[in-house]
């Protein structure tokens, strides 16, 4: 399976934050949810893919091309949707189309206006006056109009109402029906990932905590609950995000480590949301009396 996006050993250090050896890949024809708490490095990774951030080491390949030396060729075939609109707010859709058209060899004006109509976007209103959902749709319409093979979305659903979120996810699902395409979308709304992602990469403190298929992730982890004294000594070290209460505890555990678990402890499949919460608690080992 050919990878549309491949990141190997990406390192990027700022004064107060760094990406450490980030590696993951997205095969063609799939959607990857790129999740992690705020400040985990999702946006820095995306900025590195776009060559907006200068990487310290590592290699990023998009369509098999190098993200630094072939950045222009990559951007011809890439669509990007940020969490906020990056277009001139005083212009309307027609004027925006006029502005962007010359930059892309494969720009298709008919397709653009067809999408604008399909997304119910007014073409005579200033885009700055659009709702957040409309702005997201406009950025997607732009990506689709120059035949982007990979769409990268940075927190596209944050701040959207449920209806707009649903519409956006439907658009992405429709887009990925063409198996030559790919979608990478960063979010901390895990319900979106549960709904449309095939692959998941979890970033935590600038490191990749998990990368693989969504099913692998949810089948690999379970939430374990019970009385603290029932935890076998060998198992204690394997608990992730241990959270003790007066009457018991809960923690995340790899399903591989469930063998030999005493009957007094209960476990259930972990959701992505729960996995993220336990990862965040990992260093804390919270204890509430």
């Amino acid at each position: 399976m050919e990878n549309i996006l491949e990141i190997n050993g990406l390192c990027k250090a700022y004064d107060d934050f760094s990406l450490k050896d980030v590696s993951f890949s997205l095969p063609r024809g799939f959607i990857m949810g790129f999740v992690g708490e705020n400040g985990s490095g999702k946006t820095t990774t995306i900025r590195s893919i776009l060559n907006m951030a200068k990487i310290d080491s590592g290699k990023i390949s998009v369509f098999g091309l190098d993200s630094v030396t072939d950045t222009i060729a990559i951007k011809e075939r890439l669509g990007v949707v940020f969490d906020s609109l990056y277009l001139a707010e005083h212009l309307n859709v027609k004027q925006i189309e006029q502005q962007l058209k010359p930059f892309y060899k494969d720009w298709n004006s008919e397709e653009f206006f067809r999408r604008i109509g399909e997304f119910d976007l007014p073409d005579n209103r200033k885009v700055g006056d659009f709702s957040k959902g409309m702005k997201m749709k406009l950025m997607i319409a732009i990506a689709l109009s120059h035949k982007a093979e990979l769409i990268i979305l940075d927190e596209p659903t944050s701040g959207l109402d449920p209806v707009a979120r649903d519409e956006l996810l439907d658009i992405l699902s429709e887009y990925i029906e063409d198996e030559n395409r790919g979608v990478l979308f960063s979010t901390h709304i895990t319900a979106d990932v549960e709904r449309i992602a095939d692959y998941v990469t979890i970033l935590h403190n600038g490191k990749v905590w998990f990368t693989g298929t969504k099913d692998e992730l949810t089948e690999s982890y379970a939430v374990i609950k019970g009385a603290e004294e029932d935890i076998p000594a060998a198992l204690k070290e394997k608990l992730i995000g241990f959270h003790a209460y007066r009457n018991g505890f809960d923690a995340l555990i790899k399903t591989d480590d469930l063998a030999g678990l005493p009957d007094t402890l209960e476990y259930e499949k972990a959701s992505i949301d729960e996995i993220l919460v336990y990862i965040a608690k990992e260093e804390k080992h919270e204890r509430h009396s």
Partner: protein, 238 residues
């Protein structure tokens, strides 16, 4: 070069909706006043050039163009270079329009249709239509100064940040004034020889050559400022 032209077009389309009304007002005003009262007034058209440059940075900041620049298939350095060439070209277009208008005004001499031809005021108006070369050189001078100021401000703003732009420009102007004052004072006390300003060329051909040279020099300065800024900015992240 294609990249630069695309970005210049992008800048023009960004500014156009905001600039077109004030620009038209300046042009109409300049046409009316220069045709009837003084050809030199056509240099008001330079304001039209200014209104095509002034909104750009505000729009870029408000609309998050840094992100857009990060997604466009264009080299970052060319985005910067294009802005400086754009500043030159809008000023150059205004200058050309001013020259055509001034020549037209001086040929038509429409002040002759105005009433009270023997009045004192009309005498001044008549004189303003006589000195062709000075008027044309003044137009080129206004173009040069405005273009220089705008391209310098753009360079300072992009390199040091818009918030520091005014401070740096004031420091620069202060330093230049102090230098000029120093030189003049030293020359007055005969510590250094008195500087003589070069006189204008006597022939029309000489004056035309001077005008062309000023335009070429201004283009060179804009390209140089653009190159300096592009090199500084490519080291930074978007």
């Amino acid at each position: 070069m294609k990249d630069i032209l695309k970005i210049m077009r992008f800048d023009y389309l960004t500014a156009r909706p905001l600039a077109i009304s004030p620009a038209v007002i300046f042009v109409v005003l300049a046409f009316a006043l220069s045709l009837f009262f003084a050809p030199l007034i056509c240099s008001y058209i330079t304001f039209s050039a200014m209104v095509f440059v002034i909104p750009l940075q505000g729009v870029a900041d408000k609309s998050g163009f840094n992100k857009l620049y990060g997604t466009l298939p264009v080299k970052r350095g060319n985005i910067t270079r294009a802005r400086f060439l754009y500043i030159f070209l809008v000023h150059f277009a205004a200058e050309m329009l001013e020259l055509v208008l001034a020549v037209t005004a001086m040929s038509l001499k429409l002040y002759r249709v105005l009433p009270n031809q023997n009045g004192e005021m009309m005498q001044m108006v008549r004189e303003s239509f006589e000195d062709t070369t000075l008027t044309l050189l003044m137009i080129i001078g206004v173009f040069t100064v405005s273009c220089l100021i705008f391209s310098y401000m753009e360079m300072m703003g992009q390199i040091h940040g818009r918030e520091n732009e005014l401070k740096i420009i004031l420091i620069t102007l202060g330093s230049l004034s102090a230098l000029a004052f120093g030189i003049l004072t030293l020359a007055q006390r005969e510590i250094i020889p008195t500087l003589k300003l070069p006189s204008l060329p006597a022939t029309t051909a000489g004056k035309v050559t001077l005008g062309v040279i000023l335009n070429i020099v201004m283009l060179g300065i804009c390209l140089l400022f653009g190159e300096i800024t592009a090199r500084k900015l490519t080291k930074r992240e978007l």
